[in-house]
């Protein structure tokens, strides 16, 4: 028994590490945002925000930057993953802001998610509802709020330029 005592203690340490990984790492509430502008879907996973929060003192709140053409629709899918043993209830809100002023509300819905289940919310941002400056650009912040958690996506709008037709190949 004495011979194997240290081996058992090492095993206990290993089990402790695994327990911390499960309890502290896996468990919790995680959200993933999928944004589709044009034909490109972008996934903003929970690790994106985990790496940026909390921001350094004096620094701006972290945001995800993306661009879109004015006139096209931007599709959002917001997935909440409840990795807890209890039901999670929250209010999900999405709104568009410009210079700290709310421009329009996109989505608002209460969610109740069963333990170890996921919930999906979807909404669409029609960029034609947003103004654009004379130089053909505009920046808006889409704020997604889940309870006290706020995630910000900055949408850089640009006015699509007229596409000139390709020159025809020279005739030989």
């Amino acid at each position: 028994m004495r011979r194997k005592l240290f081996l058992y203690l090492a095993l206990v340490c290993f089990i402790g590490i695994i327990a911390i990984f499960i309890a502290d790492g896996y468990m919790g509430i995680y959200d993933t945002i999928y944004v589709t502008a044009g034909e490109q879907e972008q996934r903003i996973g929970p690790d994106y925000w985990l790496q940026r929060y909390p921001p350094p003192p004096g620094a701006a709140k972290p945001a995800y930057w993306m661009s879109a053409d004015w006139g096209q629709k931007v599709f959002f899918r917001y997935e909440i993953d409840n990795r807890r043993f209890s039901t999670y209830s929250t209010l999900v809100q999405a709104s568009v802001w410009e210079e700290n002023e709310k421009v329009l509300d996109l989505f608002s819905e209460g969610k109740s998610i069963e333990p170890f289940d996921k919930a999906m919310s979807e909404w669409t941002l029609s960029t034609q509802e947003l103004g654009i400056s004379v130089d053909g650009r505009g920046q808006y912040t889409v704020k997604i709020q889940r309870g006290e958690v706020e995630q910000r996506i900055v949408v850089d709008l640009r006015y699509p330029k007229e596409i000139e037709p390709l020159p025809s190949p020279p005739v030989r």
Partner: protein, 57 residues
């Protein structure tokens, strides 16, 4: 000899699996969780060392 190769292969797979899971989940740990894991890992290796010393390696 073939048995030892299989043992080695199994151990390698275990280490790779644990390493992959650790790399995947360590980013979701809180700072106290990371510290506790570090302390437990140091303790684990120290106890392994003591165990091998006890059995005469």
């Amino acid at each position: 000899m073939r048995t030892y190769i299989l043992y080695g292969f199994g151990i390698l797979l275990c280490v790779a699996g644990v390493g992959y899971l650790a790399a995947e989940y360590v980013k979701y740990l809180s700072e106290p969780g990371k510290l506790a894991c570090l302390i437990l890992m140091v303790g684990m290796f120290a106890l392994f060392g003591r165990h091998f010393k006890e059995i005469g390696w």
